[in-house]
Amino acid sequence: MIKLLNTTKKFTGGEVVTTALNNINLQIEAGEYVAVTGPSGCGKSTLLSILGMLDVPDGGEYWFEGKNVAGWSEAKLSELRRGRIGFIFQSFNLIEELSVDENVELALEYSDVPAKERRERAAHMLDKLGIAHRAKHRPSQLSGGQQQRVAIARALVYKPAVLLADEPTGNLDTAHGEEVMRILQQINEEGTTIVMVTHSPTHAARASRTVGLLDGAIAEVATATAAI
């Protein structure tokens, strides 16, 4: 489903060039649950940005569902991303000016889904994640765990093929973190591919595969049962 071949990403700040990703080769199959781990600054988030087509690699290839998207324009990537890739972030990134259900509907609005269908799908997703009773609340009126569940609902409402999660439990206490992990597990079991960046070995262990990054390169890959 996803294949990175010799993918490289560099950042330039003044005269200093930093290599964030260095010749990454990675293949992720449909339905997999991959955890990306590594110390701060190792390139985890950059990898996630490239996988989510929020950023473009400087070198190498990026194959998504059989198409090499490296070199595509931002508009074309946005088109491909819409409806195919869902995101959840450490800081939830819910829009405060929108109510919970409006936040969830927003993902469908940009895909030109009719209003009635939007409402139905958002309500269904909120119900599924157990926060339907908070549909008319504003994000700031919810607990961290509830906010992350809204963010997950928003990410899943258009039934993406891949869900990219950047430290989804980073801002949550243990109990809420566990709850989010359980939801992700369930989503994966329902067939959604998940790539999750995490610092937590415990959470990483829930994935079917763990990719360890160090200084922009893949240092190790481990399956749920054995390290390679």
């Binding site: 950059t46 996630l48 929020l54 405060e96 000016e97 929108l98 993902a107 940009y110």
Partner: protein, 825 residues
């Protein structure tokens, strides 16, 4: 644009009421001021636009070439009307005369009417139609009159007055009274017209004396306001040539003396030209005389300046709003990034920001309209115009259009910033950032705000000081105990009733003395100038003031040399003595005032309607008296005794023994015994010459208000800039504090950010202000010594306001707790 976008916009506004209030009010005040000023400009530009086909209507003007430097008048001999009607290319010609002040008695009270005598064809040319009654009948019968709706209400309390009779009175003569039936009710002429009237009557009105009727309907030299409508494409020059020829062939033009003819050379005795009626309001080359109707005149430069100020204030308000929105968008970058992640295209984002901006601009437009509506009475008073109908539906539409454009324009830059947001950076935990270019742009916008404020403040201060200087400049005498009034139109101080009035007034204990002159000091309506010559020298044209023997004594004016007129020595009818001012003596070739004393002068005058040259003898030299405003160079002036000369003598000055108010009251009590048909209009002498600068004083007030608004906007701009700087540099400030930097140095850091803006603003704003001030002052012959100090004071004021605006942020920076700040960042 979706409903959701507006909903989000509303929620953003509701979330931060202070921000919203500042945004909407700031933009609303800008829009309100802009609406008032632009509506006023439109009002001025639309003078006379109610006249059908106004672009083809012209007013006939005349200039007398016999008198050197004579001005243009917007009245021309009525005999030209016949020529105008038959001139090729003319579709219609008519005119009106406003030669007598009509009064009417209602409930025992005398009311003055703005009355016009309409010449045949006037109603048709003006497109006048009666709301009720028959206008044709009203203007053709000797006992009928037409009245405007508002005048009917003013006089009778109702507009249902058709068929009512009024006792009309004319001038000062008791016999001149007759009843007239109201035969037509007319719609009120718009306030922006140079042809205002309350009543219209025809030349056949019984009240019009027969000889005057003959003048109005015959081939006479009597001056009237003549209007000519040209056919589309007709040659203006050809019509002017026809009128000029008609004038040149008139008996009056043919009868001039041979020496006058020689002096004129190839020139005609009078020049005739046509001026567009549409431009009449801005026609400042037209002078007034005793037959002129009191009409509004405006200055096109001032109106253009007001439009520039309107645009400037709106631009500053918009800049302010853009500054605020930009900061807000910078803080909303995460949201923008998230929207992009969810699939929002740039077009979609642009529409969203446009919707939010439109929401604010529409609320601001509504606020601005309400503010303009509330401020309209004050504004009308400032502009000295009746602007009651100014906020029309059309202007409301303009305001909405302006708000719409503003909303879309101010959305552009924030949308541009949103386009540049990179979700990969924003959403992966990096702090919100703003590009250096964006920061610079906001600084430039702040500089523009402050420089505009400094420039406007300098200009306003200069105008205010100059207006005050001119108003308080000594007129050459102490006006504090003098009050002035005109005798009824056509009445001379030599007439029996006028003499009776003066005798009665002199008996009143409140009145210390009475003087006669042809014009009050500071007003030039009864201009009279003639050629004066020393034997064997060139003749000089000099303005002549006809004054009574008591004039100098009552005005407290002392001679520079010799003596002035003295009631103990001079007889009112004595034509021999003459007093000159120093300039006149110099122009006549005297090397000193003393040399002029007792010297004879040949003085051209009119005796029994025949031009004659008489000999006068100089008795003294008078100091400079300000008959003209500070905009005109002092001219040569000669004084002759009013009872002896050809000049008019219809102005009386009373010197109060105690307060002016008591003297005025005495005059009001005595007046009706002598002039029961006329309304007395008495004013303190100071008001007469202060009226010359009334427009400047009003302009200064208006500019003062505009400056205050600009200053507030600029102060807010500085505040936002300082707040942004402190927030942007919080980490730096915290670190500096950790390393022991003192509060004073932190304050310096903030001051430096603001100081740079002020410095650049001074560099940009002051030269422009200096240019504007010198151009404004160029119209005056004397400048206030303070005027140029405005250039120094305004930047100081701006600095003080900036310091005040930045003080809070400086304090926040100084009291910043490093630990808290660093943890937060």
């Amino acid at each position: 644009m979706k409903l959701q976008d507006f909903r989000v916009g509303l929620r953003i506004l509701a979330k931060d009421p202070v921000y919203s209030l500042v945004s909407i009010l700031g933009l609303g005040v800008g829009l309100g001021v802009c609406l008032l000023l632009l509506s006023y400009a439109r009002y001025c530009w639309q003078y006379n636009s109610h006249v059908p086909d106004v672009d083809n209507v012209y007013i006939v003007k005349q200039r007398d070439n016999l008198e050197l430097g004579a001005p243009w008048y917007d009245q021309a001999p009525l005999l030209l009307l016949t020529a105008a009607k038959t001139a090729p290319g003319v579709s219609n010609a008519s005119g009106y005369v406003g030669w007598f002040p009509l009064t009417v008695e209602v409930d025992g009270q005398l009311r003055k009417l703005g009355s016009l005598t309409a010449l045949p064809g006037f109603a048709e040319l003006m497109g006048l139609q009666a709301i009720a009654g028959d206008l044709n009948e009203a203007l053709s019968r000797p006992d009928t009159i037409a009245i405007t709706e508002s005048t009917a209400i003013r006089l009778f309390g109702t507009s249902d007055v058709l068929g009512k009779t009024m006792l009309l009175r004319l001038s000062a003569v008791d016999e001149n009274r007759s009843t007239a039936r109201i035969a037509a009710i007319l719609a009120n002429p718009p306030h922006n017209t140079t042809i205002p009237f309350e009543t219209l009557s025809g030349p056949h009105l019984a009240l019009v004396p027969q000889e005057m009727r003959d003048e109005l309907l015959g081939q006479s030299q009597w001056p009237g306001y003549l209007l000519v409508r040209l056919q589309p494409g007709a040659s203006l020059a050809a019509v002017e040539a026809v009128l000029q020829q008609a004038f040149d062939q008139s008996p009056h033009a043919q009868s001039i003396a041979p020496e006058q003819k020689e002096r004129l050379g190839n020139r005609s005795i009078s020049d005739i030209k046509l001026s567009p009626l549409r431009d009449a309001y801005f026609d400042n080359e037209v002078a007034t005389n005793f037959l002129s109707l009191p009409v509004d005149r405006g200055d096109s430069t001032v109106v253009a300046g007001l439009v520039a100020i309107a645009v400037l204030i709106l631009a500053l308000a918009a800049v302010n709003y853009i500054n605020l929105t930009t900061i807000r968008v910078v803080r909303r970058q995460r949201e923008v990034a998230m929207r992009k992640v969810l699939g929002a295209s740039n077009k979609r984002l642009a529409l969203q920001f446009s919707a939010e901006s439109l929401l604010v601009s529409m609320l601001a437009t509504a606020t601005g309209f309400v503010l303009a509506w509330i401020c309209l009475p004050v504004f009308a008073e400032l502009m000295n115009r009746n602007l009651g109908s100014m906020l029309s539906v059309a202007n409301l539409g303009t305001a909405l259009g302006l708000g719409l454009i503003l909303g879309l324009t101010t959305a552009l830059y924030p949308a541009w910033i949103a386009f540049g947001v990179r979700p990969s950076l924003m959403l992966m935990g990096r702090p919100d950032t703003e590009t250096l270019r964006s920061k610079r742009l906001r600084q430039v916008l702040s500089v523009l705000q402050v420089s505009a404020a400094i420039g406007l403040a300098s200009f306003t201060l200069a105008i205010s000081w100059q207006a005050r200087f001119a108003t308080n400049a000594s007129p050459g005498f102490d006006p504090s105990s003098l009050a002035v009034f005109d005798l009824p139109k056509g009445v001379s101080a030599r007439d029996e009733k006028a003499r009776g009035l003066m005798a009665a007034l002199s008996q009143r204990p409140e009145v210390a003395g009475i003087a006669v002159s042809n014009d009050p000091v500071g007003r030039s309506q009864e201009l009279w100038s003639t050629e004066i010559q020393r034997e064997g020298r060139e003749a000089v044209t000099i303005d002549v003031k006809s004054v009574s023997a008591s004039f100098f004594e009552e005005y407290g004016i002392r001679p520079t040399a010799g003596r002035l007129f003295d009631p103990a020595i001079d007889k009112e009818a004595d034509a021999a003595p003459i007093v000159l001012n120093a300039l006149a003596a110099r122009q006549l070739g005297f090397s000193s005032p003393e040399e002029a004393l007792d010297q004879p002068l040949l003085f051209k005058t009119v005796v029994e309607e025949e031009p004659v040259v008489i000999t006068k003898r100089i008795v003294g030299i008078a100091p400079e008296v300000r008959f003209y405003s500070l905009r005109e160079k002092p001219g040569a002036v000669a004084y002759e005794l009013s009872g002896s000369g050809a000049g008019w003598d219809g102005t009386l000055t009373i010197r109060a023994r105690g307060s002016i108010a008591d003297a005025e009251r005495a005059a009001r009590e005595v007046w009706p015994q002598y002039f029961p048909n006329s309304v007395l209009e008495i004013k303190p002498a100071r008001e007469i010459y202060a009226a010359n600068y009334a427009d400047d004083a009003r302009l200064a007030k208006l500019l003062g208000l505009s400056t205050a608004i600009t200053m507030v906007i600029a102060a807010f701009g500085v505040y936002v800039l300082a707040a942004d700087a402190v927030q942007r540099r919080t980490k730096e400030i915290a670190l500096r504090k950790l390393f022991g930097t003192r509060r004073r140095q932190i304050a310096k850091l903030v001051a430096k950010e603001i100081g740079a803006v002020i410095l650049w603003s001074v560099v940009i704003g002051l030269p422009l202000a200096a240019l504007a001030i010198t151009r404004y002052l160029a119209a005056y012959t004397e400048w206030s010594p303070l005027a140029l100090w405005a250039l120094a004071l305004a930047p100081l004021a701006a600095l003080a306001i900036a310091a005040l605006a930045g003080a809070r942020q400086a304090w926040i920076a100084m009291t910043l707790k490093p630990a808290v700040a660093l943890l937060r960042n």
